[in-house]
């Protein structure tokens, strides 16, 4: 039987999002989406020895946009950047016990924001 609405896990992350906020002088920063579409996500990472030691996000968007942002920060925290970069939209959706079909793009954005932040970190490393 098809279930309707968001999973309990989505609502739990929506109401109590993990890792909200801003990191001053982050080692990597990623921002995706735009306000016209109704979704903007930004992710800040602190990296030590290629391990994501701290991660924060801010999101403008719907319930699943906030929940997927929260989830992606939880999945990435403590991971090596080579591992974190492999986190996919599917991983985020699965960890949240599924998303309604029309909301899958939100999970895409959360993973994209993380990938952007890692890309930013790597490009800063190369400049050093």
């Amino acid at each position: 039987m098809a279930t309707v609405g968001y999973s309990k896990k989505v609502m739990e992350h929506f109401m109590n999002p993990r890792n909200v906020g801003v990191i001053e002088n982050p080692d990597g920063y990623g921002k995706v989406g735009n306000p016209v579409c109704g979704d903007v996500m930004e992710i800040f990472i602190k990296v030590k020895d290629d391990i994501i030691t701290d991660i924060k996000f801010r999101t403008f968007g719907c319930g699943s946009a906030i929940a997927t942002s929260s989830m992606v920060t939880e999945l990435a925290k403590g991971k090596h950047i080579d591992e974190a970069v492999k986190i996919t939209r599917g991983d985020v959706a699965n960890e949240l016990e599924g998303l309604p079909p029309q909301k899958m793009h939100c999970s895409n954005l959360a993973a994209d924001a993380l990938h952007e932040a890692i890309k930013d970190y790597k490009s800063k490393q190369q400049k050093k």
């Binding site: 968001y6 609502m11 929506f14 109401m15 999002p17 909200v20 921002k31 306000p35 016209v36 579409c37 109704g38 979704d39 903007v40 996500m41 930004e42 801010r58 999101t59 403008f60 968007g61 719907c62 319930g63 699943s64 946009a65 906030i66 029309q102 909301k103």
Partner: protein
């Protein structure tokens, strides 16, 4: 936590008196109204009584002007398609306001695909239809012009009498979708010169699954649903007797109680609007005074409507939003775009539609929940 249901524009609880009145049609007078035996005749009588009650509510010429349908969407389809196709000799043009319901706009778009011209009339920033543009657009080849009595998303009441004058001077038939207005404000189809009018049962505290189209005597339409010829051939299909009987009783009660109920709600509406507007960067959508008595709609900068809806639900307060994320199309409400909001502004809308359960004591509770919701979501938002 006490439930505060503020989404009456989406769905309303059925009045217990209506349930009591209509339930016998589920188990006693369960006949098919087309059957000539006594069980069928009982059902047939229920439909005719309902027809009379609905006609009285909108001050129709007689009960034969009322065609029962499966709901307002179907009535709108019948009005638009049925009038345009039946009167094709007048011309192949249709006109609607930019803020009509999709059940008016989409049949018109479909006619457009089939060779009709279709023009939308813009509205101003408060949602009032541009009468000058209407006057310059409607012509003798415009068979049907559709303008809603009041808008469900922003609550604005349209100048139907002026619209009617223009449409009859320049064009032909005026269809009015009164779904949001019926049972809230008095509607007089004769005084306002309305040719076709849509109303729905549930918006009167009646059961879902019934609606009606008023068709003025002499106005010719054709059916869009072919079959056994029920409803004088305009709407085939065995009648939903329970819902229609309930709709009739709901119309009778609305006629009696609407005036007092609207007078009760107006001060609550005004208090809720002024309280919500004390929230930083909040704005009213729709018209301040030309407004449905039960309707409050606002928008908040930098946050998104579906999140507002979900967060308010945590306080057991149910609202709606015109945000893209809550829609099936992922586009923000065409109504909010039509009043000139930018996409990012339209995303942050919150609509509260009140009803019989709403009291003045609800206002501070809703204000507190909305304030905390906005504050929490803005803390999460990179835009604020």
């Amino acid at each position: 936590m006490k439930q505060i249901y503020l989404d009456h524009a989406s769905s309303m609880p059925v009045d217990p008196r209506v349930i009591e009145f209509a339930t016998p049609y589920l188990h006693d007078s369960y006949g098919n109204p087309s059957s000539l035996h006594s069980v069928g005749l009982g059902a047939k009588q229920a439909i005719e009584d309902a027809r009379s009650k609905v006609a009285t509510l909108i001050h129709a010429e007689n009960e034969n002007t009322i065609i029962f349908t499966g709901g307002a969407t179907e009535a709108n389809n019948l009005a638009v398609r049925g009038t345009a196709l039946r009167n094709i000799t007048l011309g192949k043009a249709v006109v609607a306001s930019a803020i009509e319901h999709m059940s008016v706009l989409n049949p018109m778009k479909d006619l457009q695909k089939n060779g009709f011209s279709f023009t939308t009339i813009p509205v101003d920033s408060t949602g009032v239809v541009d009468l000058k543009k209407l006057e310059s657009t409607v012509s003798k080849s415009t068979s049907v012009t559709s303008m809603m009595y009041a808008n469900n998303e922003i609550g604005t009441i349209e100048p139907i009498r002026d619209i009617s004058t223009i449409v009859h001077e320049k064009g032909n038939f005026l269809h009015v979708d009164a779904t949001a207005a019926v049972g809230r404000i008095p509607i007089d189809v004769q005084k306002n010169g309305i040719d076709l009018l849509t109303l729905s049962s549930n918006d009167l505290y009646g059961p879902q699954g019934a609606g009606a189209l008023y068709v003025k005597p002499g106005v010719k339409i054709q059916t869009v649903l072919f079959g056994g010829g029920q409803e004088r051939g305009y709407r085939s299909g065995t009648e939903n007797v329970f819902a229609i009987a309930g709709m009739g009783e709901a119309a009778r009660i609305a006629k009696e109680e609407m005036h007092a109920e609207s007078n009760r709600l107006i001060p609550i509406r005004d208090k809720l609007i002024s309280e919500l507007l004390t929230i930083d960067q909040s704005y009213l959508t729709g018209h301040r005074t030309l407004r449905l008595p039960h309707h409050v709609s606002v928008r908040f900068s930098h946050i998104e409507g579906e999140s507002i809806l979900l967060n308010m639900d945590m306080y057991n307060i149910q609202v709606s939003t015109g945000s893209a994320c809550s829609s099936k199309t992922l586009e923000p409400s065409h109504v909010l775009l039509a009043i000139g909001l930018k996409h990012e502004e339209a995303h942050g809308s919150m609509v509260c539609t009140m009803g019989r359960s709403t009291t003045i004591e609800d206002v501070p509770v809703v204000r507190k929940a909305a304030g905390e919701t906005v504050e929490r979501l803005r803390k999460l938002s990179p835009l604020s």
